[in-house]
Symmetry: C2
């Protein structure tokens, strides 16, 4: 390929040619399993590959044609984008399929949330293959917006637009054969649909029993040993590299060791990171590390399609004409993305919205947000002891030790208040102490808080905490930073999790928020992400939910008094 | 004076010396009326000038000592700062007195608003001399938060902490001898207090009758002819240069022509501009224009003190020790500000909060904000005609023509919606069309809207208008910009006009808001300021208040139908 003087790629603009109503795409046909390329042309008729013909002579400057990339596990809600707007960024990275778990919106809205995602995604040619969330709610120590039992799960798993049972986090339930849990897994197997795992920290006999229950993937490995043990137990590894958990560097070698058992995924990815790269970026990083490009492409293009039985095809005659063109197999820059014969992206002209979308999405904004504004009196704390329990935060870790600090030292130790406030009904906010955010002033708040997505806020003073929380209530969800002289809000009016604004604007707004939080003294890498996990009462030791402070080691509520 | 390598001043850090408990300030004693300087020392005892003694020999690198500067007309509310925080910026510009009209807060809160300003200012050694607002409310075409009649005005004018009757805008009432209006003026004259004018656009016989009623100043002149006619009528000219109205260049010559009749003022000044300069800046600009520094100092230091009878003195033995030190009478950089013997500012160390403040202010935040959140249905417009009336906006002009445009052309003409919503009680928002803000998306809203300070908003779409307005309701006032992906608010919880945050933070927040508005396509120089005048139904031709669209030429309500 030629390059512009500034080093960027000069894209093929004549792509595709047309003959007699067919679209013809010429290039090097990539045979991933055969580990070879051959000059050829793909003839597309009615969105399907009619034929792939060899070319007589080596074409000049031709792209390499291969099946599109699949993100094998992503929560689209974490991008804060609607499925349609997510698809507008994904295709620019050569991604044509997403195996998407609507876990977050299901915990907020239940089945209508899942239906919203499916309905919205119908507007795009991009393929969002949704799973059935397995854990709604995630725990009974907090108030979620919905509850979906085994019977209802079984019903949904029979639907053709539900492709798999999504990450089964309740491993004690699996191993202990809890009937609700095994009922869900059984329903998936009976419907012929795979069951995804979420097996963080499980090993040995428990892990083998977890896999034997019918769970066939895990995207939570942090080390190569984790991955090898799971492969030995019969599971496949989805190597994850998102905005929060980044495991690619630790796990990449598994792709060359077990290419048939490997896939790639984003899991949780923020709009700014998503704009920079997705599965294409992982393929490039893998090539740069010296991993076989053929194995990387197996993991990125073929394995997920076969594992989940996705109907997007593998660029064979008779398959849907869904494939991508890249510059070469070393640089792996995506030049074109083709879905069912439509060139939805070309690197010279960007995403073609008209080609990608079948129609404009409906504009629906389902949500449940019934919390009422609060005042400082609602979040006052008057501990009855001289020392109190404080949630300890370390950057990049979900584990939060229970610190015990004298009340007299809290200011000096930069201890802030943390508030969780049920957004679904009428209740009172719950308040505790937290150390590690180092806010010298101001407060942050969000309605994205795993897994129940109640309102969570952390602040140096009560007035700013209230103003951040009340701003979220006014916008029916979002992320906010308040310090007395300025209030910034990124509204997320869809389930309090997503906005229907485009990725670029959401990334810009999100960047403004983060810059503002940094200006308040917080040095955490991702303060909103870190905060979002402070209400997840499954990771020890001290957490807080809308129902109160939780001693996770005892799986029970506790008090601030030490 | 020595200068640093980077050109800034090397300040006198030994200032003042101390002998036997007295503070001694050495320098060139400036005799403004005598147009001369003499080496001398000011001996300060108990906050008063005990003596001014000549120095035997010319001191080296000594500053020039002169009475402090007075801002002869300022609405502190327009700075969005509390009197205390305003004083922290004013003293850095050598300003020691402000003749302050609490017109804005009086229209929101009535007498308790005036009392709040006086009470807050008691915490600072800086001298805020408050006047009695003469026009509360300003007109009966809108709903203000308060009404103050002649009897109550007379009562307040008898108080020692009320120094004058502030800008009398109701000139038809003065000229037509409306008993309420003349009652107020009479009360001021009986209390021995001056009456300020506001005589925009009045001339000839009307002007002479206006002056003859006892009105002795005008700060609304735009041309030298205006100023000369007022001087001929017996009035003094307060040359204004604020953030909005900037008349200094047009009027500066009056200072050399009529030095005894001239004063200087800011009127409305935003925090960013205030941080850059105040009366000191006008003196520097005047010197640079070739105006006599002695006449400038008469206008800046002496005339207002004498006109309003301010007790801060004129740097004579027996006066309060309130004066400033500048580097010289050409560059006029303020080195030190001394109030009643306390060095409250030095250019080397900045403002000394401990010296300036007598105690911390109370933290009270009086306000009236009873409006309830709105939805797009509340601001829909369904004109019954093919053409509609549209408020026409031209940058920098308060005059707004009544345009008539076909409904079908509104989008193409970038016509936006404008909403005014009574914030004091329960009511419905009033909506009309406006052209000139050129928003390609988003909305702006504020609770600063002359003179009744209801909520005003302008936006390209209803959803953003509602979200900007509802954000203001949540923060009980302020300024907001909403576009779907981002919401920025500068909360103004004191009367919906002010914040108790420091000037630097308010300036930064205000800058963020303005940058965001510019990013939405608006090219107006000061969009919030321009919007704030769209609800002032005294400037023709078409305006809107919380009670409806106003045809100012007829002083009556009208409809959007053309």
């Amino acid at each position: 390929m030629e390059r512009d003087p500034n080093g960027s790629l000069r894209a093929e603009c004549r792509f595709p040619d047309r003959y007699n109503g067919d679209k013809v795409f010429e290039g090097h046909i990539v045979d991933i399993r055969g580990k070879s390329t051959t000059p050829g042309r793909i003839i597309v008729r009615d969105g399907t590959i009619a034929a792939i013909e060899p070319l007589e002579k080596e074409p000049d400057n031709a792209p390499f044609l291969l099946p599109g990339l699949t993100d094998a596990h992503i929560h689209i809600e974490s991008t804060m984008l609607t499925p349609v707007n997510y698809s507008l960024t994904a295709v620019a990275h050569g991604v044509v399929n997403s195996v998407s778990d609507p876990h977050e919106i299901a915990n907020v809205l239940g089945v209508p949330g899942i239906d919203y995602m499916i309905e919205n995604a119908r507007a795009t040619r991009f393929n969002c293959f949704f799973g059935m969330p397995s854990c709604v709610p995630s725990s009974y120590l907090e108030t979620a917006g919905a509850s979906i039992d085994a019977a209802r799960t079984a019903e949904l798993l029979r639907r053709p637009d539900i492709w798999y049972l999504a990450e089964m986090m309740n491993y004690p339930g699996v191993v202990g054969a809890d009937p609700e849990v095994t009922g869900k897994i059984q329903a998936a197997l009976e419907a012929g649909k795979p069951v995804d795992g979420h097996a963080r920290g499980i090993e040995g006999d428990e892990l083998r029993r977890y896999a034997a229950a019918g769970i066939t993937t895990d995207h939570e490995c942090a080390t190569l040993d984790d991955a090898l043990e799971r492969i030995a137990a019969g599971m496949k590894i989805i190597v994850r590299d998102g905005s929060a958990a980044r495991n690619f560097d630790a796990l990449a070698d598994i792709i060359d060791m077990y290419p048939a058992q490997s896939m790639l995924c984003s899991d949780d990815k923020h709009p700014k990171d998503l704009l920079e790269g997705q599965i294409d970026q992982l393929v490039r990083r893998g090539i740069a590390r010296g991993i076989s490009v053929w194995n990387l492409l197996l993991a990125a293009c073929i394995n997920p399609v076969e594992h989940y039985g996705l109907p997007s095809g593998l660029m064979r005659p008779g398959d849907k004409a869904t494939f991508i063109a890249v510059d070469n197999l070393h640089d792996f820059n995506v030049l074109h993305t083709v879905i069912e014969g439509h060139v939805v992206y070309s690197c010279a002209h960007g995403v073609d919205r008209g080609e990608l979308l079948l129609h404009e999405p409906s504009g629906a904004r389902p949500n449940i947000f019934n919390a009422q504004p609060i005042t400082p009196a609602d979040i006052s704390l008057n501990p009855a002891t001289e020392s109190v329990k404080v949630i300890g935060v370390h950057d990049g870790e979900l584990f939060t030790p229970c610190l015990v600090l004298p009340v007299a030292s809290l200011k000096q130790e930069r201890v802030a208040k943390i508030v969780v406030y049920n957004r679904y009904g009428r209740s009172t906010p719950k308040t505790a102490y937290i150390k590690g955010f180092d806010l010298s002033r101001g407060a942050i708040a969000a309605s994205v808080a795993h897994d129940s997505h109640n309102i969570i806020a952390i602040g140096e003073n009560d007035a700013d905490i209230c103003s951040a929380i009340n701003a979220l209530i006014a916008s029916k969800g979002g992320m906010a930073v308040a310090d007395a002289a300025e209030l910034l809000v990124l509204p997320l009016p869809i389930a309090g999790l997503m906005t229907d604004e485009p990725a670029e604007r959401v990334a810009a707004a999100s960047h403004s928020l983060e810059a503002k939080v940094a200006s308040l003294g917080c040095t955490l890498h991702s303060p909103f992400l870190t905060m979002a996990f402070m209400a997840l009462p499954v990771v020890p030791a001290l957490k807080i939910t809308d129902r109160g402070l939780v001693d996770v080691t005892k799986f029970d509520f506790t008090t601030i008094e030490a």
